[in-house]
Subunit: 111 residues, 2 copies
DNA sequence: AATATATTCAACCATTTGGTTGAATGTACA
DNA sequence: TGTACATTCAACCAAATGGTTGAATATATT
């Protein structure tokens, strides 16, 4: 439904390099909190907080197995964000072709 | 080139409802600062600051004519943002079709 | 039972953010 | 020239953000 709140949460979550890195890590598969935190030069707690932000934005889902929390990437909200971009493009028409082409290219190289 | 900094500025700029509203306003054509500020229930100064954020993100361009500053929408950075989304999708493949279709629909209804 | 591991909760702190008001700057106009 | 208008600059403020450390909770292992 793309409520402004949803869009807010999505874009706010994406507007941080640490959180984008976490998403990129998760885009290649599930991981536990500690595993996600490992490459970062900040405390585990800090990463835990970032994960909460991503979870609130529904970009990440948590599956608890015993003491381990497995996080996975949920890309659905990105579609909402894309919808906003499209709805705002207007005289952006010329750029649209480029985006469509880009999407198609990616589709070809990553089957 | 999609430096992380560029992406940061773009997404940070988009992560505020006032700024998204300003962009939407501008997507239907140029406007002066006062015109842009008029519908908002905040001070002109506050809106002026938001415009600066959008300008820093290169989502808005300023053309000065006498005492008037005309702002226009520059959608290029959105392409960078879209690139990031695409590069992170990975097992998002199924959603991609939906996005492509969406783009095509929009293209049909808004010639 | 005792200990180690995985994670969050809570309190705290510095910086950023989004807003305010009042003054300054530059341009248009009578 | 004087005055109105368009905009930014500067100082300030409250709340949010992104980080820290230390304690709490829950599960696993010995």
């Amino acid at each position: 439904m793309a409520t402004p709140q949803t869009l807010d949460r999505t874009l706010t979550a994406l507007a941080d390099p640490t959180r984008r890195a976490i998403l990129q890590r998760l885009s290649s598969g599930e991981a536990r909190v500690t595993e996600i935190a490992q490459p970062f030069s900040m405390s585990l707690n800090a990463v835990s907080k970032h994960i909460l932000v991503l979870e609130r934005a529904k970009l990440v889902r948590r599956r608890k197995v015993g003491r381990d929390h497995f996080l996975s990437y949920r890309p659905e909200p990105l579609t909402t964000a894309a919808e906003w971009i499209v709805s705002t493009r207007s005289f952006w028409a010329s750029r649209l072709d480029a985006l469509e082409e880009l999407l198609r290219e990616e589709d070809a190289t990553k089957p």
